[in-house]
């Protein structure tokens, strides 16, 4: 099956989103990691700082890819096709999963504070990152799956 212009853009969007989610997760989780080991004399601080820098650079690259992608969409005049009903359905599904991830993890965190002395700020940051990354990855997956019998 030969991919047409809109198909290529759909695949390209999903790949950019996966890359962006990975970059954002690396940047934020490494940052959270650096805050955890801050004040200790751990030797991995340099490695974690490196990961924070790498993650932030990859995030900048992802932003550039988004910009470049939006120019391609404009050039192909494919904005409406790329935001059709199936895409909206996939977006809704991904946002619902993101919402329940956020909601579920917060409701797990509340009773967990009764048992352990947790650093709430770090956990809230972790949950916030997951609530962004999970729907992006799910949306990308939904955009790429269910294409059996494509002609």
């Amino acid at each position: 099956m030969e991919l047409n212009k809109v198909d290529k853009l759909v695949h390209s969007r999903a790949k950019i989103l996966i890359f962006a989610a990975f970059a954002f997760a690396l940047w934020q989780f490494a940052w959270i990691g650096s805050d955890i080991i801050k004040g200790t004399e751990s030797s991995i601080i340099h490695l974690i700082t490196g990961l924070v820098i790498l993650g932030s650079m990859l995030w900048v690259a992802a932003c550039y890819f988004f910009y470049s992608f939006s120019k391609k969409v404009k050039k192909a005049n494919a904005f409406d096709a790329l935001n059709d009903e199936l895409t909206h359905k996939n977006k809704r599904q991904a946002f619902m999963v993101g919402y329940f991830t956020l909601f579920g993890m917060i409701w797990l965190l509340i009773p967990a504070t009764d048992f352990w002395d947790l650093d709430l700020l770090l956990f809230i940051r972790t949950i916030a990152v997951l609530a962004i990354v999970v729907p992006i990855l799910l949306f990308s997956y939904l955009e790429l799956k269910n294409d059996q019998g494509a002609e």
Binding site: N4, D7, A81, D84, E85, L86, Q148, E151
Partner: protein, 72 residues
């Protein structure tokens, strides 16, 4: 008594073949992605009334000529 279940089915693939349209051709005609057409054909995705009417217009048929209930 066993209840009958209704499934939203369509003749899209047959109609497309009769007119020598590829999924991409039809997608372009109605302004969606090729995958949207594929998922409708495979009954993974049920289109809105708006898209169903657009598809009917593209084939110069009525919505009922394309979409129907299949009972199991």
């Amino acid at each position: 008594m066993q209840s009958e279940q209704k499934y939203f089915a369509n003749h899209l693939k047959v109609l497309r073949a009769q007119r020598n349209y590829t999924q991409a051709d039809l997608a372009e005609l109605v302004g969606v992605t090729r995958k949207t057409i594929n998922t409708i054909e495979n009954r993974v995705f049920i289109p809105s009334a708006f898209l169903a009417l657009k598809l009917a217009k593209a084939f110069e048929l009525t919505v009922e000529d394309i979409f129907y209930f299949e009972e199991h």
